[in-house]
């Protein structure tokens, strides 16, 4: 029943687990996964500072998603990568609501109460504002 799934991923452990779940959701349904990777302003600054060219920056971002890509390629999962810029929370919400997904899957960083107060929980924001069902993977 899940055919069109959005996976928000940053290459972290949590996002690898989320990818696994996204794959399970669409398996057997001939489904499709859109992977979005969001680059924040701070990440932009760091990437530009540490890489000599646009090509290198793109390569390093693709590199973060390599493990997920390999996982999807091995299991013949249909996917497409979108690299977007902005604040992770609102950017994911915008993209998700614009494209009407059956489910939005993302990892949770597993912050404690103090951390989520200071850092702000992306998964919480997304869960609150996305119109489609949301799966937060622990």
């Amino acid at each position: 029943m899940y055919k069109k799934v959005l996976l928000a991923a940053d290459g972290s452990e949590h996002s690898l687990r989320a990818a696994e779940q996204a794959k399970t959701l669409i398996s057997g349904n001939k489904g499709f996964i859109d992977i979005i990777f969001v680059v924040s302003g701070a990440a932009s600054k760091e990437d530009v500072l540490h890489h000599a060219s646009k090509e290198e920056i793109n390569a390093s971002r693709k590199e973060s998603l390599k493990e997920i890509e390999m996982n999807f390629q091995n299991s013949d999962t249909d996917y497409q990568i979108h690299i977007l810029h902005g604040e992770p929370g609102p950017t994911i919400v915008d993209f998700a609501n614009k494209n009407d997904y059956d489910c939005v899957v993302l990892g949770s960083r597993g912050l404690n109460q103090v951390q989520s107060l200071v850092l702000g929980s992306v998964s919480h924001k997304v869960a609150k504002r996305v119109e489609s069902p949301v799966m937060i993977v622990k």
């Binding site: 600054k45 760091e46 530009v48 500072l49 646009k54 810029h85």
Partner: protein
């Protein structure tokens, strides 16, 4: 540039640009004042600079959506000029900085930026952060606990408010709250007014009153050159960041010229030299600004606020500004470089540390960049001038194969012959150059010399795997040095 794209750059995003411009103006005021105080001039000099830079850049810049104004990097370079010669020389130096930047742009030197290694750029921003941080120490000399408490309160508001709301820049709220506490609580701490005066008027065109002599030029030229280089470095780095954030391209040579025009105008209107600001540009893009209008709105709204609220601005306590500057330095520092310092090549780490150390020691960002670039060049030359030689035997020990890996040129050939054993009891030698490249006549000469020495011991030499360019070079000049009877 056609009319359509001009229209798009100016009016393609009116709502986003106006709102973001207002946010940036609010965030610019405390920084412009604090940078003026770092440089040792009246707050108006930094405010006029921020106004002129952002307005002029809106029209002539190459990167729409980028914010230019008075900056810490530039302020730090002018301290001694102002201390030794005064404001008028600074204004003249600002005009000259602009002229140099225009020349940089006209001669398309933006591409030279590519030769500045990443580790030098990282060192540059880290050093900038450290200098902005240490420049605040003077405000704490002899200060009471009240000062520390106010700085702590400023920082707390700056970092915690965005968790609740991001509608207003948190730095501005922090300044307003702390200023209100000081005014209504009648707390006696240093304020902006104690360090300089503020005139509530628009900047006017003035020619810097300096003697137009060669001596004057010799005084201001070194400062202008350093300002021009540092300004372009930070501006082009910022342009790259905005390019990445907005996923668009920009004209770096046009931006260089634009920075130049803006500094010329700024100098004539009583402002200090400025450049693009990473922090403010990121704020602008995050707040939805992406067009030229955002920079124009930021500049004009800033001036409007100063004319209306100048009386209150002088009552801002230094504690609040010091808090803002500490936030700026934390935001400028590249924390990622600390986390990865043990992972990157050791030479890169050394270059980064030397760049930072040079700047902290000389208080001059341009000297740090120069030291970093020079050191990287030396490291590069020593890295590239190492030729790796692998030996192996073939044909029952009668043939010896030397496999050379690396760049063979004048700097790398001097100890090459020592890597061969000419007295061995073998028949033939094969020099495998598959992974090597011959660059100049020294390279060919060195191989000829090796060949000759082997032949003297009746060992035949042949080559394998010469690439095309190397082959041509060897054919053209090979044997010359042998024939000339070395």
């Amino acid at each position: 540039m056609n009319l359509q794209s001009i229209k798009q750059e100016w009016f393609g995003n009116v709502r986003g640009d106006v709102l973001a411009g207002i946010v940036v103006a609010l965030a610019l005021i405390p920084e412009a004042i604090a940078f003026s105080i770092i440089a040792g001039v009246d707050p108006m000099v930094g405010l006029y600079a921020s106004f002129c830079m952002s307005v002029v850049i809106a029209f002539v810049g190459g990167r729409p959506g980028m914010i230019s104004a008075a900056t810490g990097a530039m302020a730090l370079l002018m301290i001694t000029l102002i201390a030794d010669h005064g404001l008028q020389y600074l204004l003249a130096a600002t005009v000259l900085t602009g002229i140099l930047q225009i020349l940089f742009g006209v001669f398309k030197l933006a591409r030279v930026m590519k030769f500045i290694p990443r580790s030098v750029m990282v060192g540059f921003v880290n050093a900038l952060a450290i200098l902005i941080f240490t420049s605040q120490f003077q405000h704490f000399v002899g200060a009471t606990w009240v000062m520390y408490a106010l700085v702590a309160l400023t920082l707390a508001i700056i970092y915690l408010l965005p968790k609740v709301s991001t509608a207003v820049p948190s730095t501005l709220v922090a300044i307003i709250v702390v200023t209100a506490i000081v005014i209504f609580g009648k707390i006696g701490v240093n304020t902006v007014g104690d360090l300089g005066s503020l005139t509530q008027s628009l900047p006017v065109f003035l020619i810097p009153s300096i003697p137009l002599t060669f001596e004057t030029l010799m005084i201001i030229f070194p400062y202008s050159l350093a300002l021009a280089i540092v300004g372009l470095l930070e501006s082009l780095l910022t342009a790259n960041i905005v390019d990445d954030m907005t996923d668009t391209e920009s004209d770096k040579n046009k931006e260089s010229r634009g920075q130049g025009y803006a500094n010329v105008v700024t100098g004539f209107f009583g402002g200090m030299a400025g450049c693009a600001m990473i922090g403010q540009s990121v704020i602008n893009v995050k707040s939805g600004g992406s067009g030229r209008l955002s920079s124009l709105v930021a500049g004009t709204f800033l001036m409007f606020l100063i004319i209306v609220l100048g009386g209150i601005v002088v009552q801002i306590p230094m504690a609040a500004l010091a808090g803002v500057m500490i936030m700026v330095s934390i935001g400028t520092f590249d924390w990622g470089s600390i986390k990865t310092i043990h992972l990157i090549p050791r030479t890169d780490a050394i270059v980064m540390v030397v760049t930072v150390a040079t700047v902290v020691f000389t208080h001059d960002l341009s000297k740090g960049v120069l030291a970093g670039v020079t050191l990287s060049a030396i490291f590069f030359a020593s890295k590239i001038s190492k030729i790796h030689v692998e030996e192996s035997l073939a044909k029952n020990g009668l043939q010896k194969i030397y496999k050379l890996q690396g760049q063979i040129f004048f700097a790398s050939v001097s100890d090459l012959p020592q890597k061969f054993n000419f007295k061995e009891d073998i028949r033939e030698v094969v020099i495998d150059l598959t992974d090597a490249h011959l660059w100049d006549d020294s390279a060919v000469g060195a191989l000829d010399k090796i060949e000759t020495k082997f032949e003297q011991n009746n060992i035949e030499v042949s080559y394998r795997g010469l690439n095309n360019a190397s082959q041509q070079l060897k054919k053209r000049i090979g044997g010359l040095s042998k024939a000339s009877g070395h």
